[in-house]
Symmetry: C2
Subunit: 142 residues, 2 copies
DNA sequence: GTAATCCTTGACGTCGGCGTCAAGGCCAGG
DNA sequence: CCTGGCCTTGACGCCGACGTCAAGGATTAC
């Protein structure tokens, strides 16, 4: 099969496939016209790459999986190098989720504080409590 | 104060301050030599920007906070526009944390599956169970 | 013949938030 | 006078994973 069909089958673009080839990740044979030619194996390799990409893996991180498949293993994660990437990624995910959760808590607290303060100011100004849009745009210093 | 001192006080670089100015976020007066001049107010503006940047806010998202401070409010989040950014960011954070948690679960499951499979293969091959590094690099197709 | 569709390589554009280098001005200390 | 340190503007570099355009070759359908 040629590059357009492979791209369609896996749901990506020819540009992406050429990019992968340029990175040495998905080399292709050529036919008489110089056109890239792929087989069913390449579908599996490409699906492996795309799955991991969807998980947020960097392209380089998919390489062990691809090489694992290419070496004849039934699954891309049947090799120690792939498992090592999984583990590293889990650690990164946990760290990132932790940081984001901390930020979320901080932002949530700031939001609550700000809303409280604005409600207080609105009450001080004699406005109806619970007003949806306290107007403070041009107050204070002009 | 001049740009170097402001940068040092807030823990950033002169390049960053010039960049903020180029974005219209932190304009500066000039002295007789054409050098940028800042006041204490600018310290507060800059601290507000950096705090939000540390939270992962994009530069444009800090603009409402800066304008709020500049309009005379005691806090950058005392304005509806700032609060709106908080809320939007909370939503984005929740969505992102949710996605990352889903990915984490998937990767965790894949890791468990892969380890199980490798342990099974190692046992089939007569290796010691629990071996730290199953060697499957050059098996299968050569 | 010519339009449509597929393919090729090469190269520049994108996005954000700066880093880094170049070339020069101004001023203080010794 | 020279050195060093601060400042100026301008402009290119970076990272990742491609998008997009240019210019051309090949095959097929009509």
């Amino acid at each position: 099969m040629r590059i357009g069909e492979l791209a369609r089958r896996v749901g990506t673009t020819t540009r992406t496939l050429r990019y992968y080839e340029s990175r040495g990740l998905l080399p292709a044979r050529r036919d008489g016209n110089g056109h890239r030619t792929y087989g069913e194996d390449d579908v599996r390799l490409l699906e492996q790459i795309r799955t991991l990409q969807d998980f947020g893996f960097e392209l380089e991180e998919t390489r062990p999986f691809v090489e694992c498949l290419r070496s004849g293993h039934p699954a891309g994660d049947s090799c120690p190098a792939s498992v090592a990437v999984y583990r590293r990624k889990l650690g990164e995910l946990d760290a990132l989720i932790g940081e984001l959760s901390a930020v979320r808590a901080q932002v949530g607290a700031q939001l609550a504080r700000a809303e409280e303060a604005m409600a207080g100011l609105a009450a001080d100004a004699g406005a109806a409590p619970g007003g949806p849009e306290p107007r403070c745009e041009l107050r204070g210093a002009g």
